[in-house]
Symmetry: D2
Subunit: 373 residues, 4 copies
């Protein structure tokens, strides 16, 4: 193979024009991508571009998707190690390409060794400014927002990164329809108060202030995952909260035992199948507290609790929580929106919403958000 | 990173159960994939699978797509060198996965150094038989059948492998709808008589007998590309010929000069814009000869000339050619089918049919083929 | 014209097998159809069928739709007078046709002279039993449920029966998808507490016990519109309440003055645009009372408050009302479902949902109801 | 019923601004509508409009559809007699409405008594000019172009006008998409050379010069059906010929015997199932002659033979005929276009294309015609 173009390596920190998507520490040497949908974006004028990526993991390997001029052209697993991946080659060197390298899997709370970093790019071209989008949206969710099942056959049952997609995902689709930059915070199985299996620590609110607080371990600490997030630098126009599905599931799951304290946690059902008042109230209280916290850090944002892609059993409680929040705060910029339920036809892998379910949700949600913006 | 599974390398030639798609020499040490859509397929029972791939090229790099249980999950450029690519990991070791590694770019007549080979796989599992599909279809075409433009933004103009797709391609979609195994022979810009720019050598018929005769060079010779194809081993139920678009274009392109002989080639238009009788007759003669050749090697196949995704100016000539063939041979198993034209809405990259144009074509074509089968 | 068939007139009351849809008095000499979607249905074995219809009105004329074997084949205005309308002729006399003559406009509270009656049919055939559907659904709503705007150009602004459709209507579509018999109670502009213009009498709950209590006048009294409805004879599996849109509108409309008492009615907004607490509470109280009343007469039905085709501003109040009802009654068979909002693309005449908006609503609603049944 | 508007009767012949669609004699006292899709169109500024219609028949009754501002709002059988039908009432008298009263059934060659006439209208308003559309299209066809089966359940088998639609018809849809005025000439069962059952008189070409030559009888003679058509007054930009389906069917039908002469007619198949050369040649000759005749009367029109909604067995013969015509005449303005085949999903009543099959055909055909215009 002969290389025609003379390629020059550019560490990210030395590139004048680049745009980082998703919550990060601000460090670029290298750039650690924590959350799904986080990305680095360039406008490159050149014939060839490579990106230097580093990955590690014990259990769950990272995946990336590459978008050229907003169209996904490549999706691949990134195996352990540090290497250059070719993004494009053989293109007209005078034409500017918009390139986005996207982390296509969620932050992996279950694998403290998991790592995806971008060190540098290699090109014969130069970099032009990347425009700001007119809006900013933050999505906070669970497996639905992780895009679990949005790729893969319906028969798939393994919980592996391959079946998760930040691209065929209502959040990305909604942002595209509204011409918005966006960030995703999501964890499969997590909730507002507890996870699907009653683990009270697997809740999104407790970790909201940090860059990526749901992670654990020394390695992530060193990477800055537990630093305070710099909210000032990125103030969303809308915060979409798509949580409650796992809180609802907890009522039907066995109790969770804290192995250290011996404490038992369980959201209880009455014999007639209705939620126990105290426990549903705990969920509502947690939801109110979370809305308080979101508002604290996002003073101007419309907050939209968007829920329903896997049924709506928790909707009354969500409405009550939002009502309670509004009464306490006199804050009118919070609302609830029901997302269309997955159907037999739109189901994807692992009994989760497939790509068409996400497309439907994005159509409805984007129309609603447009009415708010 | 720790590896949990004990992986064993299996050279392809030592695997009892595997299925090779596309015309090949039969060699497995290694397996060279020439045509787009050619592939190796396994049923693997194991938790992890890697595939050892080798690539080379001067200009146009190979791409692959990976399908798990018939769903595309990964698409990536394969840069020069030999290496293992991870197909899946962390899956339930007791469940059988159907895996297909597909060459996702056409045979590169313009780059004699271009090479894509599969050497081996590495897994902790074992291999089960891959079932035969009830039908077999061979597709012969040009850029449309190469899937040029089926991926990428509409603004794309570079001729590079990235924009070509064997997956978002009417041929693959048609085969899937009919539950058929299939092979593709395609070259962008080529025709029945000449290429779009009047080059008389860039015709598909002359090379039909060979494994991949449209290639050139010592390297491809050594790989067996110019060996006689073993037609007996794979007799299609249908041969779909999607050619004529470039033969039509030649009438509007400048003459082509053979630099060796000095000879000039040009399909001529009359002043009123109609095709010159002699030249359109040459096309028809070439089409008849091609039908003869296809029939020679595929005695039982229905032959369907499917044309129209980029307009139908050559349709009268195609019908005359098929008529002439039927009169000469009294062979009734040949027909013509008009494919739906690309529209403004269904256009993809490089002014070629996008994925939705291919989807529409596959719907119509598969319904027609079903009526023949 | 020669008549081939010997036709015999059958007064409705003398036909053994017929099925009446919609709330009626039970009288058949003649049958008065009050509500939109009310109908008479036959299974006729014969070559020809006519139906004797009588209509009258001051302002708003009745319309009917005719369905043969569940397909709408005719829709026509019925002008004043009594006459036979031909339903079909020239058909195979040995084949049974299912025929439904549907009132295709709402009960006209604004025109006490409005009348649509079926007296008799004329046929050469005989009548066979009409099967019961597995489910029964009652829909209670406003202009959306009247199908206002589901027919007609977007530019239409007149309030006339022509633009209203019981057929291209989410209620009928939902019932068809679920194989359900159904009844519609609807009035354009009406609400739970008040109409869109603050008229407290234009509320659906006050008239729920009567056959068609929203009507007025001696003529309707004589027809039995104000008789008690016989709930025992038709117990729905589901009651769908699609109200609230006009109650929401009242907050933005001028006050309404009772010309007799001089009393003023107005749902008030705060200066910041939020609903006045007392007034939204009045709506909620009215909603709770309505749920009580519905439950009183439909002991076993699932009650679903389905709302959202023209926005969701009243949804928090609806959820609070349903919560309050459930707390008071410990009745769990009540829920809220958000219908998909009309979009720019799905808008019909008079800025109301068009046929495609109804289709989308029916898809979502029928999937939800299926999960309850 | 009280009538608020003062209505005045206007005989058609006294209305300054009106537009007649379809081939007619030019007479307006009254206007006889012969062909399906023929119509009278007004722009009325008034609150109420009635149309005086006269109908008669032995066997097949006429149907009409009413369009207000281009939207179909009513469809009804017109029984024998003369009467006023109300088109609209209660509308804003200052707004102009576009109104079209359309004959919604084919010219009835099988019922010489069949008659549909418009005598007058009655309104409180006045009439404004009706604009010319930018294009004109003439459609010539069989049952497909009659819209047979475009309305009605799949189970319907009777041949009656109720199942035929000029509205849910590819011809009307195509004209609408292209903003074209249009005329339809169609007869179910008829062909170019013979009908489906080998009747050589049931061919469309023989009657092309007349206003409505396919009719018979003294009554139609008196109405002017057999007068020479005034081609000068309406020159189409495109003539679409959708014939051949019944000519193809004749090969599979029993012979037809002329009861007067005793002559036998039969399009023959060879034993191997192929068409007999002489007979298919007769079809081709008839097609060439028809093209000659169409060209004679429509000097500037593009002629498009559009075929395929019920399969494409005759397509080779159609292409040969068009080739032969072009060779004889050096006329390049003739082409062939394959329409999308009806599928299991798009089938309507009587095993004919349903409304969605017509919609698909209109999408493809209108895109093709747009490329010619």
């Amino acid at each position: 193979m002969e290389t025609l173009a003379k390629l020059e390596v550019h560490p990210l920190s030395e590139i004048e024009h680049l745009k980082v998507h998703g919550r990060t520490t601000g460090r670029l040497s290298p750039l650690t991508l924590f959350w799904t949908g986080s990305a680095v974006e360039f406008n490159v004028r050149g014939s060839e571009l490579w990106v230097e990526v580093e990955a590690d993991y014990d259990t769950y390997e990272p995946w990336i998707s590459i978008l050229i001029n907003s169209v996904p052209v490549s999706r691949q697993m990134v195996t352990a190690g540090r290497s250059f991946i070719c993004v494009f080659r053989g293109m007209n060197k005078d034409v500017v390409k918009n390139v986005r390298i996207v982390k296509d899997m969620q932050a992996m709370s279950g694998d403290p060794e998991n790592l995806l970093q971008i060190h540098a790019v290699k090109t014969d071209g130069d970099f032009l400014p990347v425009e700001e989008k007119p809006y900013k949206i933050e999505f906070i969710g669970d497996s639905i927002t992780t895009g679990e099942g949005a790729i893969g056959a319906r028969t798939e049952e393994d919980w592996i990164p391959m079946w998760c997609s930040a691209i065929h995902n209502y959040s990305t689709m909604t942002a595209n329809k509204l011409q918005a930059d966006y960030r995703i915070l999501s964890q499969s199985g997590w909730g507002v108060l507890t996870s699907w299996d009653n683990n009270p620590r697997a809740n999104m609110p407790d970790y909201y202030e940090k860059v990526c607080g749901i992670l654990t371990g020394k390695k992530n600490e060193a990477l800055g995952a537990f630093e305070e997030n710099d909210f000032e630098s990125w103030q969303p126009d809308v915060v979409v909260v798509n949580l409650g599905t796992n809180d609802g599931g907890a009522f039907y799951s066995p109790e969770w035992k804290d192995e250290v304290t011996g404490e038992i946690y369980k959201q209880r059902l009455h014999e007639d199948g209705s939620y126990h008042e105290e426990d549903i109230q705990s969920f509502e209280n947690a939801a109110v507290r979370f809305l308080m916290k979101i508002r604290k850090y996002n003073k101007q944002a419309k907050i939209v609790w968007a829920y329903g892609m896997l049924g709506i059993p928790m909707m009354p409680a969500i409405y009550r929580a939002v009502d309670a929040f509004k009464q306490k705060t006199e804050d009118q910029n919070v609302s609830v929106f029901q997302l269309p339920n997955m159907t037999e036809e739109t189901m994807g892998a692992r009994s989760h919403p497939g790509a068409t379910a996400h497309e439907k949700a994005a159509e409805e949600l984007s129309a609603y958000l447009r009415s708010l913006l």
